[in-house]
Subunit: 491 residues, 2 copies
C-alpha cells in the first residue's frame, strides 16, 4: 500500500511552502526536498499526478511539472511508465528518530509558523497580541515590594506557587465555582493542563469525545496519546445533546472534552441549560469531563455568562476545568491551570514533576497579583475587542459580501463559510497574497467543514484593513482567474 | 503471582510515612490507607509479614502488628491462615486513571516532598537554595529598560526567545563548543530538555545506557517512555570505558546518557581523555549521545574543566547537550536548553509546541541578560559553596568518622558510603530525626549502592550544623538501639 495516498496529505505535509520570494516551481521543489530531508517522504513514496497536485495547491499543472523535473534532475524523484512519480529508491533517509510531528496531526502547520519565526505574512494562525497594560504595572509593583522574599526560596513548586493557587481558587469561587487551593494545579498555559490531563485519562486506543469543529492544537494532544476521536457537532447552545447522549452510551469514552466559555473556533457560549444537561449525562454515564475555558478573549460584560460546567456537576462526577491568562493578560506569561478534585490534582502534580518539575516562579507571583483584577482586565480588553469585531464585520460585509458568518458570543475569531470554495485551496491562494489562513478541515477530525476558515479579529484596525484587503484580492483571484500562472517570478 | 512482592516495594510506596506527629502505628496505618485510596495497593494484594515490614521500616514488629490490627478493624485488611495478610477483596478501587507515578520509578518519593509542601524536616532530597543576587539586579534593569518592547509581542516562542538562543549560543561558543542560535532550543529547565529528547529518541522497549549511580529524576523520564536501562559504573574519570564499549557493541542502544560536568550524585568531572574516547565510541557505534551539564552547582575556578563532550564529537555524530541556569542562578527561573544539530533542534521545537507551546517570556529575557555574566556568577557562587563543602566535610569527620566519602570535583552533594548499613533502613530512622535522606538504591537502576546516601552541602553553615547533628543522632540510634519502640507518642 502506498504511504502517501491523497493530494491532501501532500498539501498538509508541505505547509505554507509558497510563502517567501522566488518562482513557485522552485519553492515547491525546495519544499519537497525538505520533506525528504526531514523523513516525511520516504524512498519509493508515490507522489500525486502533476494535474492532481496542481489542483490541490491551486497552481497550474506546469508549475508542478517544472518542480518534478527539477527534482528528477537532482536524483530525488524517479518516474516510470505505469508507476507514476515516486521518491527515488536511493535517497538518503535520515536517522529513524521521531520527527516531533503527531501522526495524523493537523496543528503543526499552524505552529510551524511560530518555530520558523515571523515573515512578511499576516498570520491569522495564532490570534495573539501584546500584553494587557496591567502586566507591566503589576510587574513593577512586584519588583518593588516582593522580589527579595520571592527569590529567597528554592523555587520549585510542582503544584504551583501557593499564593497563585489561592488566587485562582478565589477567582473561580467568585465566578460561581467554589474552589479550595488544593483543587488547583498551575500549568504552563492551559495547553500543558490539557497535556497532563490527557496523560492521566487517555491511553492508547481510548475514545475521547470532542466537539467539531475544534482547535487542532488540542486535537493533536489527544492524537499524540493514541486517542480515537469521536465528534459531536455544535448548535447555538453548545454540543448537540442528542448526539452527545448517543456517543456517550455507545462509545464508552475515557474523556469528554468541551469548550463552554467560549468554543474555539466558533465563539459559541454554552448555555446554562446545556451545561446542566451535559453534567447530568456525564454523571449518568460516569464519564470524566474536561472543560476548557481558556478561550477568554472577547468576553462581553453585557452577556450573561453561566458558571463553569463543573458547578453543575452532581456529586461524584469527575470534572476538570482548564483556565488561562493567555487571552486576557498575555500569552507570553504562560500561566494556566487545571481545577479538579484534590486527589486528581495530586496526580496531575506528579505528571507536572515528570514534565518539568514546576513552572517559573516570577510569572506565577505576577499572576497571583493579577488574578484579583482579572474581571476588570477582561472587561477593558473586551471593550477594545468589541470595536475590532465591529470593524472586521463591516470590512467583510463591504469587501466579501458573499462570505457567511455569525457574530460570535465571545472568543477571538469569526468562523466564516466560503460558499462553494474548498478552504484548503483558498488558503493556498491566500498565502501567496500574504495571509496565512487556517482552513476548516484541519479543525475537524472527520475532515468536514472543508469550506470554512477561522478568521481572528484580534488585530489593530490598520492590520484588519490590510488583512481583509489581501483576503479580498485572493478571493477575487480564486473566483475569477483559477490557478496561478506556471512560473510567477516575484523578485 | 503477587503484585507486591518485597518489603522494599512497600517501603518505596509508603514514602516518608513516618514524618509528622502522632503514634508510629497510626501513621503507618494511615499511609497504607492512602496507598489503597490512591490505587497503589489493590484488593487481594499481599502485604509483608509483621516482622519483615518492621525490619524494612526500622520499627518494631509490635508497631506493624498494631497498624495491621487497626486496618483489619476498619475492614481494609484480611488475614487468613496460610494466606498471610492481604488487602481486603471488597475495598473500593479508585477510577482506573493513571495516578501520575512512573511504573518502577524511584524519583516520586523525592519530589512528593515538593508537592506536599515544606514541613519541619530538613529535606536533603532537592539541593536547591535561593537566587543569586544578580537575578534581582538584572530583573530591575530589564523592567527599567526593555519591558515595554518585550510585552508588545504575542509572546509565543517554541524554540525560545531569539535573544536568549543567541546568548546561550555565545556562552557555549565561549566555553569551547562553537554554536549557532538555531542549534539551541530553550526548555523549562534542563529537565524538560531531557523529556523532549527522550520523546524523540526513546520508544517503548528501547535501550538507554546510563551511568550508575544516577539521578532518579532522570531515570524516571526514561522509564516513563518504556526504556530498558543498561548501566555503566563510574571511575574517577567518568563512565568505565571498557564496560561502555561492551554495552555499546552488544546492546544496540537508542541513546547514551552521560553527565560530564558534573556527574550527579557523585560529583565526578569527566576527564578530557575520557570525553574523547566516548565521542569516538559513539561515532563508531552510531549511537546518539545526550550529555547533561546541568549539575553546575559548585564549579571551582581553580579546576580545569574540559569543553563539553559535543566539542569532541567527530563529524556526523549525533550529540545533544543539556544545560541550565537552575544551579548557578536559580531553580525558580526554570531556564534550561538543549544544544544540538539544527534539524534535531527543529524536531525538539515541535515537541516543545506539543508540550506547552513555549516557555514564559519574561524569564527568558531575564536569562538572556544573565548569560553573558554566567561565568562570573558561577565563580562567585562557587567561592561560597566551597566554604560550605569544607564546613560539611569537617562536621562529618568530627561527628560521623566512620562514614566514607571523597571530595567531589563539583556539583552540590557528597556521595557518602555508610559502612555496613542499608541506606533505606537508615533513611527510615533519619526521617524520624527530622532529615529526609535519599538512599543510594533509588539512584541505581540495578538496586545497587544500597549503603550510599546523597548528602547536599548547599546549605548555610547553621543548617549544616543542625543537619549533621540530626544525622549523627539517627546514626547512633541505628548503630546502638536497633528499631524504634512500638508506640512512640510525639505530641
Amino acid at each position: 500500500m502506498d504511504r502517501i495516498s491523497t493530494e491532501r496529505d501532500i498539501v498538509a505535509l508541505l505547509g505554507d511552502w509558497a510563502s517567501g520570494r522566488g518562482p513557485l516551481y522552485r519553492k515547491l521543489a525546495d519544499a519537497l526536498t525538505r520533506a525528504v530531508e526531514d523523513g516525511l517522504l520516504l524512498p519509493d513514496d508515490r507522489l500525486p499526478s502533476e494535474r492532481g497536485l496542481g489542483e490541490a495547491l491551486q497552481v497550474s499543472r506546469a508549475t508542478v511539472v517544472a518542480a518534478y523535473q527539477e527534482l528528477r534532475g537532482a536524483g530525488l524523484l524517479s518516474s516510470r511508465q505505469g508507476s507514476g512519480t515516486r521518491i527515488a529508491s536511493d535517497v538518503k533517509v535520515p536517522r529513524p528518530t521521531a520527527d516531533g510531528r503527531v501522526p495524523g496531526g493537523t496543528a503543526m502547520t499552524i505552529f510551524q509558523r511560530l518555530i520558523d519565526g515571523p515573515g512578511e505574512l499576516i498570520s491569522v494562525a495564532v490570534a495573539a497580541g501584546g500584553a494587557a497594560p496591567e502586566l507591566a504595572v503589576t510587574l513593577r509593583e512586584l519588583v518593588r515590594d516582593d522580589l527579595d522574599e520571592l527569590l529567597s526560596g528554592p523555587g520549585y513548586h510542582p503544584s504551583g506557587l501557593p499564593e497563585l493557587r489561592e488566587a485562582i481558587a478565589d477567582y473561580l469561587t467568585r465566578n460561581g465555582l467554589p474552589t479550595a487551593h488544593d483543587e488547583v494545579v498551575v500549568t504552563t498555559g492551559a495547553h500543558q493542563g490539557l497535556v497532563l490531563t490527557t496523560e492521566l485519562y487517555v491511553s492508547q486506543g481510548a475514545t475521547v469525545i470532542v466537539e467539531t469543529p475544534n482547535w487542532p492544537g488540542c486535537l493533536d494532544v489527544f492524537r499524540s496519546a493514541g486517542a480515537r476521536l469521536v465528534t459531536v457537532p455544535l448548535d447555538e447552545e453548545g454540543p448537540e445533546i442528542h448526539t452527545l447522549g448517543t456517543v456517550l452510551r455507545e462509545r464508552k469514552p475515557s474523556l469528554l472534552y468541551v469548550m463552554p466559555t467560549y468554543h474555539n473556533p466558533t465563539g459559541v457560549l454554552m448555555s446554562a441549560a446545556r451545561r446542566r444537561r451535559i453534567a447530568e449525562l456525564a454523571a449518568e454515564h460516569e464519564v470524566p469531563v474536561l472543560e476548557d475555558n481558556a478561550y477568554m478573549t472577547y468576553h462581553p460584560e453585557s452577556g450573561v455568562v453561566p458558571a463553569p460546567l463543573a458547578a453543575y456537576a452532581p456529586p461524584g462526577t469527575e470534572m476538570l476545568s482548564l483556565g488561562s491568562l493567555a487571552k486576557a493578560v498575555w500569552g507570553g506569561l504562560r500561566i494556566g491551570w487545571v481545577r479538579g478534585p484534590a486527589e486528581i490534582v495530586q496526580r496531575l502534580s506528579r505528571r507536572k514533576v515528570l514534565a518539568d518539575i514546576g513552572s517559573p516562579v516570577i510569572d506565577q507571583a505576577l499572576a497571583a497579583r493579577l488574578m484579583p483584577r482579572l474581571d476588570r482586565i477582561l472587561a477593558d480588553r473586551s471593550k477594545e475587542l468589541g470595536l475590532q469585531l465591529d470593524h472586521m464585520d463591516a470590512l467583510l460585509r463591504n469587501r466579501l459580501p458573499s462570505w457567511r458568518w455569525q457574530r460570535p458570543d465571545g472568543g477571538g475569531a469569526l468562523w466564516v463559510e466560503l460558499p462553494g470554495v474548498d478552504a484548503m485551496a483558498f488558503a493556498q491562494v491566500a498565502v501567496r497574497h500574504g495571509v496565512d489562513v487556517v482552513p476548516g478541515a484541519v479543525m475537524d477530525p472527520d475532515g468536514g467543514h472543508a469550506n470554512h476558515i477561522r478568521l481572528p479579529f484580534t488585530f489593530s484596525p490598520e492590520v484588519l484593513d490590510e488583512l481583509v484587503h489581501r483576503l479580498a484580492r485572493a478571493w477575487s483571484e480564486i473566483a475569477r482567474h483559477g490557478p496561478a500562472p506556471a512560473v510567477q517570478v516575484v523578485v
